[in-house]
Amino acid sequence: MDIKLQQVSYAYSMGTPFEKFALFDVDLTIPSKTYQAIIGHTGSGKSTILQHFNGLLKPSKGQVHIGERVIEAGKKAKELKPIRQKVGIVFQFPEHQLFEETVLKDIMFGPMNFGVSEQEAEQRARELIKLVGLPEGVLNKSPFDLSGGQMRRVAIAGVLAMDPEVIVLDEPTAGLDPRGQREIMDMFYQLHKERGLTTILVTHSMEDAARYADNIAIMHEGHCVLSGTPREIFADGKTLENYRLELPHIVRFQQKIEAMLNQKLSKICLTEEELAEEVARALREGRDVQ
């Protein structure tokens, strides 16, 4: 299911003296089964944009295509439920949305809202609790007896239980310890690879975008200012600086090494493993030449 934003603008409190635009003429296409990162600072419009992906906000101008559906400025959008089932959103600090007496019921809440049978919903909950790395025993506990990290995983299971085709992640690892962060990000990447889940990661982490994304869009003051593959985006550190963003740590380190070697490596490396390999190769080749 492709998602396409065409000339989308959005204003909060439209038509009042307090009217304030948060998005300006944003064009963005996210093809099915890709991993898209949207990067920007707080206030860049990235959280406004993500609410357009499942019709939580309606554009003030322009069109949003979600699969076959079109949500257009000025027209009434009816029956948004099918869209919301297909596009799941994991909001920042999703553990704040838990409310049921048991973990099981909370995970079942989403699917049952979309008309999935109780049996089927329970089935999904039992599968997903393992997928997010929790023992099945927690299903009967109250979500409020769990640790913060565990609550986060339950909330994520609750969104995945809707069986969406697209998943939108808003800073899914904020506040977790390093191991938790890595585990959650790897889990989503695996889902993306194995099930072809279209993944949209809204983040300020250049590192995560470099490691996981196929495409990156950079948001700045409500405009989508850059868009391309990670290597395209990271080839130009100067432009990023204009938007008060830094190259990922790994790319900055590569530049230091390149300055030391006085030679460019064959490509921009996006992960630590990749860089180690490239440097090893460059050194080997250098030695062979000597």
Binding site: H41, T42, S147, G148, G149, A174, G175, D177, P178, R179, G180, H204, S205, R244, H249, F253, K256, I257, M260, E272, E273, L275, A276, E277, V279, A280, L283, G286, R287
Partner: protein, 281 residues
């Protein structure tokens, strides 16, 4: 050297009635000297926050003692101790008491009965020190997370504390906010020689410390300089922490057969070693 804080064989259990229950903090001893920056690292649930609660007198140890400025911390000297400790907590929103920036900075001063004229001076100097003096009348919901934490630091240092505690103060911030806060604390230390105790699971933050206390499962697993602690390598990873970037790269390089002379904490050292080990022979 003047000792600011010390833990002597401190233990604490949240369910003391059960003799075999796991203790949140078990037989921990350490001390902080004036002007030091100590970081306590450990994964969630390692006992870090319980230790902090015992410094601020929200909990008292069941065994052992906590000493602040050489005095054992008790119910009696609690408030005096608190006026000598500045604390910044994790959630920037939930510690902002005042209606505006300057009201919030003044809060602890008001509580401790500082006279008005003195208060005004202190509020302004503290806000200058954290570079928030242009935001005197801003309301909290118009500030970023990093700005709110800087206001919290200003509120803490306005009391001219002997010790500043950062209790996971950067963990809810974006990278920019984290940088802001850490830069502020480093500048403050250079300027005033402030003693800092930071609780964190961010290894890059811990690198700034003079000494690191590595907690695991309620016990002090190791204590030492950042170099000594990160030399533990995979042990840290096993306990849910990360290695600093330069160390991770060192290990990766070595595994790919790149020649290096040793382990490195900083990128500069690593790049230099790459050069000397491979070209400068």
């Amino acid at each position: 050297m003047t000792e600011i804080l010390s833990f002597n064989n401190v233990s604490y259990s949240y369910s003391p009635e059960i003799p075999d229950a796991r203790k949140a903090v078990q037989n921990v001893s350490f001390s902080i000297q004036k002007g030091e920056w100590i970081a306590i690292v450990g994964h969630n649930g390692s006992g870090k926050s319980t230790m902090v609660k015992m410094v601020s007198g929200l909990l008292f140890p069941q065994e052992g003692e906590v000493r602040f400025m050489k005095d054992v911390l008790t119910e009696e000297n609690l408030w005096k101790t608190r006026s000598n400790i500045g604390m910044v907590f994790q959630n920037p929103d939930n510690q902002f008491v005042g209606a505006t920036v300057q009201d919030d900075v003044a809060f602890a001063l008001e509580n401790n009965g500082v006279p008005f004229e003195d208060m005004v001076k202190r509020v302004h100097t503290s806000l200058e020190q954290v570079k928030m003096d242009k935001f005197l009348n801003h309301e909290p919901h118009h500030l970023s997370g990093g700005q709110k934490q800087r206001v919290a630091i200003a509120g803490a240092i306005a009391m001219r504390p002997k010790l500043l505690i950062l209790d996971e103060a950067t963990s809810m911030l974006d990278p920019q906010g984290r940088d802001e806060v850490l830069k502020t604390v480093r500048a403050l230390r250079e300027e005033t020689g402030l003693t800092v105790l930071s609780i964190t699971h961010d290894v890059e933050e811990a690198l700034y410390a003079d000494r690191i206390l590595f907690m695991n499962d309620g016990k002090k697993y190791a204590e030492g300089t950042p170099t000594e602690i990160f030399a533990l390598g995979d042990k840290l990873v096993e306990f849910g922490l990360e290695l600093p970037f330069a160390m991770r790269m060192t290990k990766l390089f070595q595994s790919k057969g790149v020649q290096l002379a040793g382990e490195h904490m900083t990128e500069e050292e690593l790049v230099n070693d790459l050069w000397t080990s491979n070209f400068n022979k």
